[in-house]
Amino acid sequence: MRASDLIGREVRTADDESVGVITDLRCVQDGPVRGTQAALRVDALLVSRHHTGSVLGYDRERQQGPWLIRAVVRRLHRHMQVVPWSDVDSEGPPIRLRRTG
């Protein structure tokens, strides 16, 4: 399984409703230690309606400028959701979540 397989994959609820597509994979570094670092574990999916690629970092809390670009990017990704990996029922394609609606 590659990152390129998951990113861009559609995500649907148990009722077959489309949530969006995966734009990013949020990982937490709390796995077993490999080499000098703990392994990175996929913790959540960032799912958005538009596949305009990464949010360029403008979704973070901090106010990254310039204002105009931040406003446009936020508007494009205003429906972005963070879906925990534990909510994933099957990887498909498409990704199916346990929840409905």
């Binding site: 690629g53 970092g57 990254q64 400028g65 310039p66």
Partner: protein
């Protein structure tokens, strides 16, 4: 020693500012529109100052080149589209510069320019292969100062400075010219001042010379003092054309005509300086564009690049530079008029500008990369205004080119 370093940087920036695009476009526009389009050069100069300052600061703080970061921010798809467009424009510009060197050598020797092309391309490759980066940059920049012959000629013409200044600050399109061509040439001048390769080169050069935060002062001085003074040189080329060619209705289509005012107003020695200046400015720009062809591709793919390592340690980079030089020389050898190639290269530069400007603007704002050196509010305001201007120019360029049939 610091003062010397700053002075060297500024002088290099002045002499290196003018390339074949600036020479041809300013000469052509001055002969046709007088100084009524000088505002476009001024606007483009402010733009390149902002753009180069941001990308130089990014290079100093992150140690990374432009296309490396473009792919990171825009992703591989948009980054590749960006790379292809920028590479083609840079390649076209390289062809224009090689043509410019050959034309200048023809002026000096009366040997047909086509015969010079292979020699010029070979010599360019040889210098890129062997000579230390800083020698290349400083050498070309300092020799380019010979173009001050235009400033000298301007002074010798004893113009009514007040009237010249009035033409600049209160632009008045000549009645015989159409509005669409007027704006077409405004975009051309803008693209000539804000050529994308200058920024790839400036930021990659910063990595070559291992800039750090401590070098930011010097980098800013180079840009904020050197570039505007370099632009004065561009304006003096336009002013000379305004004073000598326009009244006589001479339309510029050759490099020789651009140098005519110097021949007219100053002596033989000035003409010698002028030709030296032509050769140095275009040759220097060809070195920069050739290297930039390599920088852009290598940085996108993550290859080792640069002159700071042995050629055998950056093999793919050097191969790309070699192939780019061959391709560009080949384009000139098809006997397409180099002045025409130049005119197209500046317009396409304006079209490609937003592609690389946008990611640099985003990255220079990213606190993870820039820390406390990220853009301030004032800078962001100015940079955003220019983003809008650049996008407008980029979108309008091709339609205007078609509508006016490339400035008829």
């Amino acid at each position: 020693m610091k003062i010397f370093q700053v002075a060297l940087g500024i002088l290099t920036a002045i002499g290196g500012f003018v390339d074949i695009g600036d020479l041809v476009t300013n000469g052509l526009v001055g002969a046709r529109y007088g100084l009524s389009l000088a505002w476009a050069t001024v606007l483009g100069t402010v733009g390149i100052c902002l753009y180069a300052e941001m990308s130089g600061r990014v290079a100093a703080v992150t140690g990374r080149g432009t296309f490396d970061l473009v792919r990171e921010r825009l992703g591989p798809r948009a980054g590749l589209a960006n790379l292809i467009a920028s590479f083609l424009v840079t390649g076209l510009t390289l062809a224009a510069e090689i043509g410019g060197v050959a034309l200048a050598l023809e002026l000096a020797t009366s040997v047909n320019y086509l015969l010079w092309v292979p020699l010029v391309a070979f010599f360019l490759w040889l210098l890129i292969w062997r000579v230390k980066f800083s020698y290349l940059e400083n050498g070309a920049g300092l020799l380019g100062l010979a173009l001050l012959a235009f400033g000298f000629a301007l002074w010798k013409l004893h113009p009514d400075y007040g009237s010249l200044v009035h033409q600049v600050v209160a632009p008045h399109k000549p009645g015989t010219e159409r509005l669409n061509s007027y704006f077409y040439y405004a975009i051309a001048l803008f693209g000539a001042a804000m050529t994308p390769y200058e920024v790839f080169f400036f930021s990659s050069g910063g990595v070559e010379e291992k800039w750090t935060r401590k070098d930011l002062m010097v980098e800013r001085a180079n840009v904020l003092i050197g570039f505007p003074l370099g632009a004065m040189l561009s304006l003096s080329i336009a002013a000379c054309a305004t004073l000598v060619l326009k009244p006589r209705g001479i339309e510029v289509s050759t490099l020789g005509q651009i140098g005519l005012p110097v021949a007219f107003a100053a002596g033989k020695v000035a003409i010698a300086f002028l030709i030296l200046g032509f050769v140095a400015a275009t040759f220097g720009a060809a070195l920069e564009t050739g290297l930039s062809c390599g920088y852009s591709i290598a940085q996108y793919f993550g290859w080792q690049w640069g002159k700071f390592v042995k050629p055998r340690e950056a093999s793919r980079f050097h191969l790309v530079v070699l192939l780019s030089l061959i391709g560009a020389a080949g384009l000139v050898l098809t006997t397409i008029d180099p002045v025409k190639i130049t005119e197209y290269s500046v317009v396409f530069s304006a079209v490609a500008l937003p592609l690389t400007y946008f990611p640099i603007l985003v990255i220079s704002n990213d606190p993870d990369y820039m820390g406390d050196k990220k853009n301030g509010r004032v800078m962001n305001f100015g940079a955003t205004v220019f983003l809008v201007i650049i996008v407008v120019a980029s979108v309008a360029a091709i339609p205007l080119m078609i509508w006016t049939r490339a400035g008829q």
